[in-house]
């Protein structure tokens, strides 16, 4: 490592003030701090600091995402071979998906980080770590058949409109990765809904089996909720959908990592699930008895298993920047996300994936929720005075 350190120290002067590449300092700084935790010491205030920083936080989220990445890759291969009626090994399924998904991830990171670097260099500010997570979240929310140029476009949109115009990581009010997805969803609906969930690239000598249907369970349940796949299949994720969203099991592993490390808010995750369940039960009660296939009859816990609900609740709703920030606010925020997701799914067939829209909606309302909570807190504090 001394060797690496020597190289960094030799080139450093060129990137410092007055150096040849002074302008590129943010880029150099990002790479240097990526390789080495800086030797900076505390100056004023506390003399010792907790070992955590934003890089560690972000890498923890990435670790929490790995189960969904691995499962998503495998499922891409599995769905593909299922459509062709082929029986192949787990490894073959995984490798098929691996080569399909990897380019999407690479494009997302390359384009997004590129935009971040350009912004940092022109504005002369530091490069924040936020995109390390966003760059992985974007591919996981997309169908595997998405054209790569759209991934790039989404990454640009997300970095520019989602973050940089507000001042970078920590300043945005909507989840950048979801913003990227919703951008594609509305700009290129043909690529984001319909018969696009399974990679159907031709297999020599094989034809698509008759039983194949491109419909996700979200479309199925709107038409006839009794035709939904088994709860176990939906839980483990043997179904069609965006790359990372299908397996609730993988999301729960991620949720466990986020909650155990203290990075993700368990209040938000729990209240999202609670909100969806409560709304599901309420709709069950109100459902028309003479129409047993109606979506309102869907068992409440099915909403946890369908579509990207678990993925959204665990990885998207918990983004601390765009979520509510007060403890009470987090409960309200989560409950409303869950409830709205179910309402959108059941009553608005045009947008089958309700979780994306409801998280973004609640992102917008998060500040308002917090505002109300803080105002109540202030009132309570004042009341304490007058009662004494």
């Amino acid at each position: 490592m001394k060797f690496l350190r020597r190289i960094v120290d030799t080139v450093k002067p060129h990137f410092s003030k007055g150096g040849k590449f002074e302008k590129l300092h943010p880029a150099f700084d990002a790479l240097e701090t990526f390789l080495f935790v800086p030797a900076t010491t505390t100056k004023e205030g506390v003399h010792v600091r907790d070992a955590i920083d934003l890089k560690r936080t972000m890498v923890t989220v990435i670790i929490a995402l790995i189960p969904t990445v691995i499962f998503g890759m495998w499922n891409t291969g599995y769905q593909h071979h299922l459509a062709y009626g082929m029986e192949v090994s787990i490894m073959e399924n995984f490798m098929f998906g691996f080569w399909k998904v990897l380019p999407i991830i690479i494009v997302s990171y390359a384009v997004g980080l590129g935009v971040e670097f350009i912004f940092a260099i022109t504005k002369g500010h530091q490069i924040s770590e936020g995109y390390l997570v966003t760059g992985l979240l974007i591919p996981l929310t997309l169908p595997v058949t998405i054209p790569l140029w759209m991934v790039g476009l989404a990454a640009i949109f997300c970095t520019l409109i989602g973050k940089e115009i507000f001042g970078g990581t920590g300043m945005n009010f909507m989840n950048p990765a979801l913003l990227a997805r919703i951008f594609l969803f509305f700009a290129f609906p043909a690529y984001m809904s319909g018969d696009i969930w399974t990679d159907l690239s031709p297999e020599a000598g094989q034809a698509i089996v008759d039983a194949y249907s491109g419909a996700t369970n979200l479309v199925t349940f709107d038409a006839d909720q009794t035709k939904l796949p088994s709860a176990a299949n939906m839980f483990w994720g043997f179904e069609q959908g965006s790359i990372g969203e299908t397996s609730v099991a993988a999301c729960l592993i991620g949720a466990f990592i986020l909650v155990a490390t203290g990075i993700g808010s368990w209040q938000i995750i729990f209240s999202c699930f609670a909100g969806a369940w409560l709304m599901g039960v309420l709709l069950n009660v109100l459902a028309p008895a003479d129409m047993p296939t109606h979506a309102m009859h869907t068992p409440a816990y099915y909403h946890w298993l369908m579509g990207g609900f678990a993925f959204g609740a665990v990885y998207m709703a918990t983004d601390p920047v765009s979520a509510a920030q007060t403890e009470t606010g987090k409960w309200i925020y989560g409950l409303l996300i869950g409830a709205f997701t179910v309402i959108l799914r059941v009553f608005n067939p045009a947008y089958p994936e309700g979780v994306m829209l409801s998280i973004l909606l609640m992102n917008v309302f998060a500040s308002l929720i917090d505002h109300i909570v803080v105002e109540r807190h202030i009132k309570r504090r004042l009341k304490k005075v007058s009662s004494e």
Binding site: R49, I263, P320
Partner: protein, 453 residues
């Protein structure tokens, strides 16, 4: 004994280098320094010149804004030098101490219980001991013309490696008691004591005669339970326009000496702590003692940082510095100015973190040799709920900080600026993922509120 107040939020930083319970007397250093900069907002006006002979307890300077607040020499000797900084600001008054015994200005010996409030005030002002009494909000020297709604003494220190107050007080119980009696007179019966709840309690209710039981409060829980600000918040919160006073127990002892011995005797027990100290222990030292004289030959590692106070709230001391007026502790820890290869990616078994992102959480009992490394760079606020976990107050810290940054005085007041001091939010700064200088922001907010509020 009432039901203890349970402080649930907070954190005890497990750091190496706690002081062992032995005391050595330190001989006076060749020079003693009194630093007007120890007193926030005080504008010093000198009463002595270089070459003057002074007695211990003789005034060296007073506060230009409040002339009755005077600052005394801790020892007898000759004024050797007045050190000035920019704009001729007085930084240090250096005194050459007498070689033989210390000569004191003498005051009448009397039982404070027999004195009136005004007489106690007068005695304290005259002797210069008044400046041990400080006020919240703003942590300034108390204003003698104010009537505080209470006087608070926290009888334990929960900060990292903090000296054991009960151990210190035990050496001079009668003086401590006399000091408390004086404060009781001053407070008009509103003297509150904060004690560590049993079973960790060092001091017990029986150590405090003459103080009603309902004014002795017991606290359970981690740091900052020992901070007087946290205790005030839980006993009787400060509102706008209200003033409370507080005194450190060791300073209570010094007040007691004034009444029982009739002199200003400023020596105190000092805990020398931290992992860079060879044998962390207690010393009897003089206020104004040269730091190098305290540390000489007692350090393990030259590449370390000397802190006056604890690692959360202390200030960095230079080699030529003197022991500050209110300090009871010196901490020496290694400097952490080595870059670490991929440090943010490694398992980090030896890294202390309140989060469980490093695997050190598998070893909950281990103590750490913490250094001064920042462990990352400053960022915008990202994580939420972190500060709340270590601030046991009914206050929303991030919203308070944002109100301060926006210089919105009404909002600061509504969110509780008058209840906090820098030290109360020090742990927030410690845990902050975004490495924000919380205490600096709080200090700015308090200063702004003091001037504008």
């Amino acid at each position: 004994m009432g039901k203890p107040i349970n402080i649930q939020r907070g954190y005890d930083i497990r750091i190496e280098g706690a002081a062992e319970r032995t005391v050595d007397d330190l001989s006076l250093s060749d020079i003693i320094g009194v630093k007007p900069t120890d007193f926030h907002t005080v504008v010093p006006k000198l009463l002595v010149e270089v070459g003057d002979e002074v007695l211990a307890g003789q005034a060296l300077f007073f506060d230009k804004n409040r002339p009755d607040i005077r600052f005394n020499s801790p020892i007898s000797g000759e004024i050797a030098e007045i050190v000035r900084g920019e704009k001729r600001r007085i930084l240090e008054i250096r005194i050459l101490p007498d070689k033989k015994d210390i000569r004191y200005v003498s005051y009448p010996v009397s039982d404070p219980a027999a004195l009136s409030r005004d007489e106690v005030t007068e005695r304290l002002l005259e002797s210069g001991c008044w400046n041990y009494i400080r006020q919240r909000p703003f942590s300034l020297i108390a204003n003698p013309s104010d009537t505080p709604k209470g006087i608070f003494v926290s009888c334990f220190d929960s900060a990292p490696l903090a000296p054991d107050i009960s151990y210190i007080v035990d050496f001079e119980k009668e003086n401590f008691q006399a000091g408390l009696t004086a404060l009781q007179q001053l407070s008009g019966g509103h003297l509150h004591l904060g004690l560590r709840a049993a079973p960790q309690a060092g001091l017990t209710d029986s150590d405090f005669s003459g103080i009603p039981v309902e004014h002795i409060h017991h606290f359970k829980g981690p740091h900052p339970a020992g901070n007087v600000g946290i205790q005030i918040h839980h006993i009787d919160p400060i509102q706008k326009g209200e003033v409370v006073w507080y005194v450190h127990p060791q300073d209570v002892v010094i007040l007691g000496r004034l009444f029982r011995e009739g002199r200003y005797r400023a020596d105190r027990l000092l805990a020398l702590t931290g992992s860079s100290v060879l044998r962390p222990q207690y010393f009897r030292a003089m206020t104004g003692q040269r730091i190098s004289n305290i540390l000489g030959g007692r350090l393990r590692d030259a590449h370390s940082r000397t802190i006056q106070g604890n690692v959360l709230t202390g200030s960095t001391a230079g080699s030529d510095d003197f022991l500050s007026y209110y300090e009871n502790q010196i901490t020496v820890i290694p400097e952490g100015d080595e870059p670490e290869f991929l440090g943010w990616l490694l398992p980090g078994i030896k890294k202390l973190s309140l989060s469980r992102t490093y695997f050190s959480w598998l070893f909950p009992r281990r103590t750490y040799q913490l250094d001064t490394n920042m462990h990352g760079e400053e960022r915008a606020f990202v994580m939420t709920g972190q500060y709340d976990k270590v601030l046991p107050m009914d206050i929303y810290p991030v919203y308070l900080l944002k109100a301060i940054l926006a210089r919105d005085i009404e909002r600061m007041e509504a969110l509780g600026i008058y209840e906090v001091a820098e030290e109360d939010l020090a742990l927030c700064e410690f845990v902050c993922t975004s490495k924000i200088d919380v205490q600096k922001i709080v200090a700015e907010g308090l200063e702004y509120a003091r001037l504008e509020g």
